[in-house]
Symmetry: C2
Subunit: 152 residues, 2 copies
DNA sequence: ATAAATAGTTAAGCGGGCTGAATTATAAAG
DNA sequence: CTTTATAATTCAGCCCGCTTAACTATTTAT
């Protein structure tokens, strides 16, 4: 198979699917009164379960001062909890509140709507072909990401 | 096929691929001194070829004043051109300069790196399966998007 | 020809988000 | 015990992006 065909198809799909996802997601964010930075932060907290202030700042590419200030706003909005780490009382453990979880779930759901619509236009055999292909991709990308994550 | 399997697989793929794309893309944006809004705007101009100030604002979900101000900065940075529409002298035609095109291409290229890495871990038959599936998706999503675009 | 609608710009004001520097509290190293 | 390093916070100051409102220029409708 032509070396370019695969990558360019993948690229086109990413472009078009990201556009769909982002549009709905951004709209939901605006309605919730959250900025993109807030959402990226909340997702990072969701994924890690719990993280420190400086960790989060590093992940977002900002100073710990900026991270601290943003977290303060998120605490005021009742989206996260900031508790002391009993092992090292210098660090704060950042976790999502129930409200924070709910907001994120709504965001994910908003992003999912067009996928349901898309699913309805597909036959079972088409779905099977696509699912098979995507599972390969998901599997491979996870193996690909390990070395990258540890490097950063 | 289970109704949920397809959508949840699709959802997982979108989540993981968006994360990869966004990470590289955002890093490139910061290095170029462009904000997300700038990039979204530039991509919209690239896609439409040429658009008006208010159009762009509507697409971004902001007022025409905000759009105008942002475009002013992009003009100062030499990324776009703002010329008068000869058919209706009230409207301005916004187009990308060569520099603007170049910056976007670099952004796309930054986003594409991990796809090349991914491609190298796949056999030809896997690539074929995936390409087939993605092409179905791309085809269907394009048909799906027409009514949504016209509705907004 | 006049009135109304439309496209874009400008200015004032608000809040977000960032940085660097100073501060406090805790932990680790000498 | 003292020094040094680390985690988080606070503050001042800056720029960005947004809104509303006022304004100019052009087009369309009556």
């Amino acid at each position: 198979m032509e070396p370019d065909t695969f990558v360019s198809t993948l690229q086109e799909w990413i472009e078009v699917s990201m556009r769909s996802s982002m549009r709905h997601f951004i709209r939901h964010a605006r309605e919730s009164g959250l900025s993109m930075s807030h959402l990226v932060a909340l997702f990072h907290i969701l994924r890690t379960g719990s993280c420190g202030v400086t960790d989060l700042g590093d992940h977002l590419g900002v100073t710990s001062a900026a991270s601290s200030q943003m977290l303060e706003r998120l605490v005021l909005q009742g989206l996260i909890l900031r508790t002391e780490d009993p092992n090292d009382r210098r660090v704060k453990q950042i976790t999502l509140t129930d409200k924070g979880c709910r907001v994120l779930e709504e965001g994910i759901h908003a992003r999912q709507g067009w996928m349901d619509d898309l699913a309805q236009t597909l036959s079972d055999s088409e779905k099977e072909t696509i699912t098979m292909g995507l599972n390969i991709l998901i599997d491979k990308i996870k193996n690909l990401k390990q070395p990258i994550e540890s490097e950063s």
